[in-house]
Amino acid sequence: MHDCPPGLNIALVDDDQRVLESLKNLLESADHAVRPFASAAALLASGCLPQIDCLISDIGMPGMDGFELLRAVQTVRPELPIILITGHLDLLDQVPPVGMSQYRLFKKPFDGEELLAAVGKIDGGPGT
């Protein structure tokens, strides 16, 4: 059905191994290339930031959280589309102004198809 591969390069950050795995499966089922990271620091250390088309990150994580990661990424790739995921409803109040269209926010548990649709809207970046 969706066999024409959009083939985005997506970086995935979540401290929960199971959630990370499930997201990787989901994105791969839509033929995206996924680079999973267990922490924000691991992503920043990997040096893969310039190659990715999209970042999907959990918000509540030990060490550097999703918001901090977002700010750190912005300094390098201000135009990078970012999708944040949270399980804590009260964190929603702290979400920075979402005026810019490249940010999306999903509440756990989210609908897989909706997440894929959001990713699908992203144009192929420098990777394609």
Binding site: R18, V19, E21, L23
Partner: protein
């Protein structure tokens, strides 16, 4: 009975007639008495006695009205207090004030120059004799009050309608006043001539007045020996004023509308107001205390619910993680199968993960149950009806605010159940809060019925029935699962925690429809405790 004793004792400390006076009050009372004594001396011995005054015809009706209103309000407040404390002493002193107020009615009717040159009723002697009877009456009531205070400790626990006792006292007092009025008005020709004419008091006046003054003094002594409360203190002051007032009516000028006479009226008004002012002041102070107590209680309750919410939030987060993984992996698996050339390996992998995550979610729920099961140390023997009463009391503000009629139908012969007081309290509060929320949006008569009954021999069943929006039959099981909520601001954890708690108590929690509308939440508990059931 024994269990409620400390609460009753605590409440007694908040009741006006039991509050002990502070040093400021004592000093103030002393100043009042000393001030009146100084006025007394200034008039009888000093220059004030020479001052000439004119009869002011409007003074007497104004004085009557003020006294009448003060005395009856004091009586009403004291009767109201009786209905709370059920103290016979309070009932007696309330009747005393009612008597003092009511006697003023025949007094004004006989007063020369008010409703006619010689008064509307009776003769020249009636007015003074009514005054004597009034001033002899209150001291007698005060003595009765002082003497019956000691018996109160045994009598206080008496049950029965206070309304009946109040009605009897009001009736008896009215009958007494009528008898005094008939005696002084009808029999005025037979009474000793204490008054010469409509203005001048006769030489016999002091002989009739002296015993009256002595009675006030006796009341003062009796009360002094038994003084404890604020009410006692100010009644002592009133008796002082009564004692001072009577000689001042005669010395130095035994004439109505003299300086002494006017002063007596002012003192009379003061003594009438004193207890009223003290009562009002104290009611206001207690009201403030009550408000503070309510605020403190509400804060405590909110704090407790907050911790409940915090627990719920952390559990919710724990459950959400595997749920998220499951739904996401399921989507992935579906997509792997839904391709032109299905990727069966990846799909199989996805399903294996879903199974693993399902087990993980179950483990989280299991640990949640274990959390409520752990603290067997907190278990104690509980009276379910007491738990219901406490929960309803905690929720009373919200119930009142939403105009919900509360019906409690406890079965008083239930065995004690073993359980964790806080947890079971939380279940009840949760169910009651849900009931309030369910009824908040309905217009129909809002009725919350909380009942308890025996269940399957040695068990207990508690029902919380509301007339709210109800629970649809397809939701009746789902509402107990974590994360299911019908509330816009809810976590959906309340009922699942309730069920976990009741499960940990080896009981059951379920919902059924109420007739004609609403929902009935019911849970069962075992009388012999969960351990005996082999938990």
């Amino acid at each position: 009975m024994l269990k409620t004793a400390p609460i009753v004792q605590e409440a007694q400390d908040l009741i006006l007639s039991n509050l002990s006076p502070g040093p400021v009050q004592k000093r103030l009372a002393l100043y009042v008495v000393l001030g009146i004594l100084a006025v007394f001396l200034l008039i009888t011995l000093g220059p004030l006695g020479e001052v000439q005054t004119k009869p002011v015809s409007a003074f007497v009706p104004a004085y009557f009205m003020a006294m009448f209103v003060c005395d009856t309000i004091t009586a009403i407040l004291l009767f109201a207090q009786f209905s709370v404390v059920r103290s016979r002493a309070i009932l007696i002193i309330a009747s005393g004030y009612l008597y003092t107020g009511l006697v003023l009615v025949p007094w004004i009717l006989t007063f020369p120059g008010v409703f006619g040159p010689q008064g509307l009723l009776g003769g020249t002697q009636s007015t003074s004799w009514l005054y004597f009877f009034q001033h002899a009456g209150l001291p007698l009531f005060v003595i009765g009050y002082a003497l019956s205070k000691e018996m109160d400790s045994e009598n206080r626990a008496r049950h029965g309608a206070p309304r009946g006792a109040i009605a009897t006292c009001v009736g008896l007092t009215a009958a007494l006043v009528t008898a005094v009025a008939i005696f002084c008005i009808g029999g005025h020709a037979l009474l000793p001539r204490v008054v010469l004419d409509s203005l001048h008091l006769g030489p016999l006046w002091p002989y009739a007045a002296a015993p009256v003054a002595l009675l006030s003094f006796a009341a003062l002594i009796v009360l002094w020996a038994r003084r404890r409360s604020m009410l006692d203190l100010w009644l002592i002051v009133v008796m002082c004023l009564y004692t001072i007032e009577i000689p001042l009516s005669y010395y130095p000028n035994p004439v109505r509308f003299s300086v002494g006479w006017y002063t007596v009226r002012v003192i009379g008004f003061m003594s009438s107001c004193l207890v009223l002012i003290v009562l009002l002041y104290e009611i206001e102070a207690l009201y403030a205390r009550l408000l503070r107590a309510i605020h403190a209680e509400r804060r405590e309750r909110v704090a407790r619910l907050m911790t409940g919410d915090a627990v719920a939030a952390s559990i919710a987060h724990e459950v959400k993680q595997p749920l998220t993984a499951m739904t996401t992996t399921a989507s992935a698996g579906f997509r792997f199968l839904d391709r032109l050339s299905p990727n069966l390996d990846r799909a199989k992998e996805a399903f294996e993960q879903i199974v693993a995550d399902g087990h993980r979610a179950a483990a989280v729920v299991g640990s949640m149950r274990a959390m409520f099961r752990n603290d067997i140390r907190n278990r104690s023997m509980l009276d379910v009806n007491e738990l219901i009463r406490e929960a309803l009391m905690l929720e009373s503000t919200d119930l009142m605010r939403h105009k919900i009629l509360v019906q409690a139908a406890p079965n008083d012969r239930l065995p004690a159940v073993q359980g964790d007081r806080i947890q079971l309290q939380q279940v009840l509060i949760n169910l009651i809060t849900n009931a309030i929320d369910a009824m908040a949006s309905t217009d129909e008569p809002r009725v919350l019925c909380v009942s308890s009954d025996a269940y399957e021999g040695d068990g207990v069943i508690v029902s919380v029935a509301d007339t709210g929006v109800g629970v649809s039959s397809q939701d009746s099981e789902r509402i107990f699962s974590p994360l299911f909520t019908t509330k816009s601001d809810g976590m959906g954890m309340g009922l699942s925690i309730c069920r976990a708690i009741i499960d940990a108590h080896q009981g059951r929690l379920w919902v059924s429809p109420n007739s004609p509308q609403g929902a009935i939440f019911q849970f069962t508990l075992r009388a012999n405790g969960p351990e005996a059931a082999g938990a």
